[in-house]
């Protein structure tokens, strides 16, 4: 019988996703001349994970450090160019230009030229901008400060009307000033011994500036200020700065020196404003004409610069791509062991077995393309390290694999829970989220994401959108199962629908007044699919649904947990550990099923027979007084002796899973290593000497610590025994959330506005609960998750990472 089962299991078709790819440890010996090409071909292929053989060397002691440095320098230049392009607002092309191969050296010189050109242009523009700013500031100072000067004078001649015009009509100042008669302006300031300095200063510093001036001159000054009409562009940061024009009146040489120093300290530019209106006008005119000259020059410069930048922008993605690849290739080459005498590079790494021939092909191609006389040697080696875990996923399974990996990466060739999660995860979600209305909404969302898949995958999305997009197929499955479960629950935004025929129940009389209190009468066969819509709103709706969902949760939980334990059997079989089957899998199976499996049986029997037995009572008294008569709670004949047998089995199972395994392990260990303490040390040292390049590590056989193993086993057993209870209880969350969901949607249905809000929240909480059920209740039965991921050297992955 057992053999037949085994044969049957062996004949089962292979499942790709169930076990991670078979990996092999390989050594590659590249001749120096073809190494670079070979590695870049391998990068294109993307299925070899190189091991760093120079771990003890710091980055600048490695062989190809100069090339890496050059690449870093080039990517710095590229960043500089990109920044300039972004600043100038030139668009980058979305798609990569034609992949014509460019030489790295050529690219380097090109980049250097471009950088040089841009820097020169920038400094030119900066200089121009600087002068332009000075002129602009001068213009503003002339306009505003002139205003202060005249306002002071007009006071002396009491020309109120013109004063107002002068002070407040800023824009038309030059014109208004010309209206004033020339003779009306004697050089009053010089006569009174009053000097003035006018200039322009940042608005943010103005208050401090004024305060400082006040203190320095001990208050003997007059400070006039006005906001400048135009903002000034800072030539370095290219930000617009608001400035104010000021004029300080003061007396004395000492004060002048101080004020000038303060101006310097605050970065205030001072301009001398002639007091004579004619000169002033003349100057203004001059300044204006020069300003327009400068504007033209600046514009021309800017146009030229933009042209250069847009021509660079066309090439930029290609260059960036190239440099990134080169850098990755050199980084990989740095991981190889450089053998000076043999003129070759030795690399070690992991690759999947199925890729071996293709890798060899790529290597041949590399040898051929680089005209090397010596081929690249590629051979398989043994390794004591456990291989990396590599699952070949597609876009549907990838998201599920991610969910599993988030908990822990599978051990090499360990059974992969993702296989089952593809269905169970969305299903358990749907059990909590069963509503075909909500399901359709979710489905539409998922379909939109899938329909725009090709568009969205190239775009940069926000972190939340990225999450949704990554899980679009999870979302799709979740919505489909929600619709299915929603149909079973007969929920559509908490509105009952008669889809599959007529209800089995009807009112007792035509007025239907006591439908909610006394109840209904069954008039025809049961409703064909799912919950009868008539239940909704009736007196017994909640008790009925609760009982249904609670029992269903336990059944689902038991199924999933049993699946988990069975997977542990497959794992043990796969790794050839009969110990685990006999002393772990068997007692675990017996323990769980003799208690909660029995409960499931009772549930099914009760559903089928429609019996009135109280299952709580049965379960509790099975432990408290197993020998008692069940009386009205008896569901089938022979239940009492069965219970006693099951209880005894459960009790036996506990020491069964606790004691034998560690003792047998100790016995095996003693047998295996008896008298072999001397031999091993010698051979392993020989091994290392013969192959110094190899990354094979000295293999110490682990010391067997009995107490540690025993304590570990004890913890494991206790966890399982307690877990059997708590995990089963944990599955009741399916019921609880499902209940909450339907109650919430009833409330939201009544207050429609709240719909959207509660909807989002509930998806997340149902998702998290489904996640927990998988990670904890399901995976702790068999999943170790202490492996490490296969991270091949691949250009394709490189791009993803950088973006």
């Amino acid at each position: 019988m057992q053999r037949r089962v085994e044969e049957f299991l062996d004949r089962l078709p292979e499942m790709d996703l169930m076990r991670s790819e078979k990996m092999t440890f390989v050594q590659l010996i590249f001749p120096f001349e073809s190494a670079h090409r070979a590695v870049s071909y391998l990068g294109d292929f993307g299925l070899v994970q190189f091991r760093d053989l120079n771990e003890e060397k710091s980055p600048f002691q490695r062989t190809f450090v100069n090339q890496v440095k050059r690449c870093a320098e080039m990517s710095r230049k590229l960043r500089f160019l990109r920044e300039q392009i972004n600043k100038a607002g030139v668009m980058l092309p979305d798609t990569l230009a034609v992949q014509s191969d460019i030489d790295l050296e050529e690219l380097e010189t090109q980049l250097g030229e471009h950088e040089h050109e841009l820097i020169e242009m920038n400094s030119n523009t900066e200089r121009l901008q600087h002068t332009y700013n000075e002129l602009l500031e001068f213009k503003m100072v002339l306009q505003k400060a002139g205003g202060f000067l005249f306002s002071g004078k007009e006071h002396s001649v009491l020309e109120e009307r013109e004063l107002e015009e002068n002070v407040f009509s800023n824009n038309g100042y030059v014109e208004t000033a010309s209206l004033i008669d020339k003779e009306m302006r004697p050089a009053t300031s010089e006569q009174s011994g009053l000097n003035f300095i006018s200039g322009i200063v940042c608005k943010s510093k103005a208050i401090m500036f004024e305060r400082m001036l006040f203190r320095a001159t001990r208050g003997n000054m007059l400070f006039n200020q006005a906001l400048a009409d135009e903002v000034v562009l800072d030539p370095v940061t290219a930000e617009e700065v608001e400035k104010i024009v000021f004029t300080v009146f003061f007396s004395g040489e000492q004060a002048k020196k101080k004020i000038l120093k303060i101006c310097e300290a605050f970065g205030a530019n001072c301009y001398s404003v002639p007091e004579d209106i004619v000169k002033q006008r003349q100057m203004t005119r001059e300044v204006l004409s020069r300003l327009s000259d400068f504007e033209a020059t600046l514009d021309a410069g800017l146009r030229h610069r933009n042209k250069v930048l847009s021509s660079i922008a066309l090439q930029l993605p290609k260059w960036t791509n190239k440099v990134r690849r080169e850098k990755a290739v050199y980084d990989t080459l740095n991981m190889l062991n450089f053998d000076v005498t043999k003129k070759c590079l030795v690399g070690e790494g992991w690759c999947p077995i199925f890729a071996k021939t293709k890798i060899q092909e790529a290597l041949h191609r590399a040898t051929f393309d680089s005209n090397s006389l010596v081929g690249i040697i590629f051979h398989v080696m043994d390794s004591v390290d456990s291989p990396p875990t590599y699952f070949r996923t597609n876009k549907v399974t990838n998201a599920y694999q991610e969910i599993v990996d988030a908990y822990g990466v599978a051990q090499y060739q360990e059974a992969n829970p993702a296989v089952y999660s593809v269905i169970t995860f969305p299903f358990l979600f749907a059990v909590m989220f069963g509503d075909w209305g909500h399901g359709i909404c979710l489905l539409l969302g998922a379909l939109v994401l899938i329909a725009y898949e090709s568009k969205l995958s190239n775009k940069k999305l926000g972190s939340f959108m990225e999450l949704l997009f990554g899980g679009r197929y999870v979302l799709l499955f979740m919505s489909l199962f929600s619709i299915y479960c929603g149909l079973i629950y007969n929920e559509f935004f908490s509105v009952p629908f008669y889809i599959f025929g007529r209800s089995a129940y009807e009112c007792r009389d035509s007025s239907c007044s006591d439908a909610a209190s006394v109840g209904l009468v069954k008039v025809r066969d049961a409703y064909p699919f799912g919950v009868d819509p008539k239940w909704r709103g009736s007196r017994s709706e909640l008790p009925f649904l609760n009982s249904l969902k609670m029992k269903m949760s336990i059944l689902l939980g038991m199924t999933q947990m049993n699946l988990g334990i069975i997977l542990s059997y497959f794992n043990a079989r796969f790794f050839g550990s009969s110990l685990d089957i006999r002393y772990q899998f068997v007692p675990q199976m017996i323990f769980l099923n003799s208690l909660f499996g029995y409960l499931s049986l009772l549930i099914i029997v009760k559903w089928c027979t429609g019996a009135q037995a109280d299952l709580y009572h049965v379960m509790i008294y099975m432990f408290l007084s197993p020998a008692d008569d069940l009386r009205e709670n008896e569901l089938f004949w022979g239940q009492r002796p069965l219970q006693i047998v099951l209880l005894l089995l459960a009790i036996v199972a506990v020491p069964w899973m606790l004691f034998p395994k560690p003792f047998i392990q100790r016995k095996l260990h003693l047998e295996r290593f008896q008298g072999r303490t001397y031999g091993i040390l010698g051979t392993s040292e020989m091994d290392i000497e013969s192959e110094p390049d190899s990354a094979r590590r000295h293999h110490h056989h682990e010391e067997f610590n009995f107490s540690e193993v025993f304590v570990h086993q004890m913890i494991h057993s206790i966890e399982f025994v307690l877990g059997a209870v708590s995990n089963t209880a944990s599955y009741l969350r399916l019921w609880a959330l499902s209940l909450a969901h339907s109650e919430l949607s009833t409330v939201f249905y009544e207050k429609v506005l709240l719909l959207a809000w509660g909807y989002d929240n509930f998806i997340i909480s149902a998702f998290l609960h489904a996640l927990r059920l998988h990670w904890v209740e399901f995976q702790n039965k068999f999943y170790h998750g202490d492996g490490y991921k296969f991270k091949p050297f691949s250009f394709a992955l490189l791009m993803d990472e950088d973006e």
Binding site: F60, K69, R76, F80, M212, I262, E264, A265
Partner: protein, 357 residues
Amino acid sequence: MYGFEALTFNIHGGYLEAIVRGHRATLLTASDYNNLCQCETLDDIKMHLSATEYGPYLQNEPSPLHTTTIVEKCTLKLVDEYKHMLCQATEPLSTFLEYITYGHMIDNVVLIVTGTLHERDVQELLEKCHPLGMFDSIASLAVAQNMSELYRLVLVDTPLAPYFSQCITSEDLDDMNIEIMRNTLYKAYLEDFYRFCQKLGGATAEIMSDLLSFEADRRAVNITINSIGTELTRDDRRKLYSNFGLLYPYGHEELAVCEDIDQVRGAMEKYPPYQSLFSKLSYGESQLLDKAFYEEEVKRLCLAFEQQFHYAVFFAYMRLREQEIRNLMWISECVAQNQKSRVSKDLLASSSKNGAN
């Protein structure tokens, strides 16, 4: 509130303490220093640092690097971190963080004033200032001719104003005056900071009083050694010592009358914590004293991280980072000047030896 900080500390300080401990975990380790010491060029240093937290700050520097660029960028990182923490901080932590920068402020003031005295260009001086000690009107320090002007014009707006009350004279500024001003200011600053920490209470007060006392004692010893053979009278010297610390008051009396380094040593060896410092030095030697003090400081700063729920970690982190930047400067200078043999000589790798755990 002593002993109950744990109850409420995390309400306001938890996030920032986590941040600062995270920053501290990124201090360079002994193996980093080992690698850095083997660098041949400044580019190698840049390359090594690009694998550390300094990476983003250095990656856009064009290749012929200078020591000043490296130091500038590393300092910029510290300043960015400081500013981030200051923005997130609430009272009284924000005040505490501000206190940390006052020392730099004093140094900057002294730097500018001395510079203008020797008629240096203000812009050039400003570039040399520590960015943590900058304040708005710092450039106008150049206007001042004497102490009272300095105070009246500029410093009255800065947090340093109260410290100045003790050294306002109408004397013209000269090197000696400025040095005395620096020490007076520093004394007042340390005392104020000390009082502030005492007011905070709890573990902050306990640890900070230890750190600040050490700082005060170190300054006292330095003042003594530097003033031997100058015109400074004993009373004046006595006035520059901070009024707290392990040496206060009896040690100060002894230090005030010291005439040579061995007398200082005699005075200091009466205090057990300092005895071990001096026991490493041979007689008559004062060169290595600075280093010994720095080492001791780093040790104490690292210990500050052993307790939780207090502000001293911020102080300790800032100090450790500054020491690290000094180390980097030293390494880069040695590499730039081809003095590789001297690289590890004055290196305080301990600045983060404990930072790695």
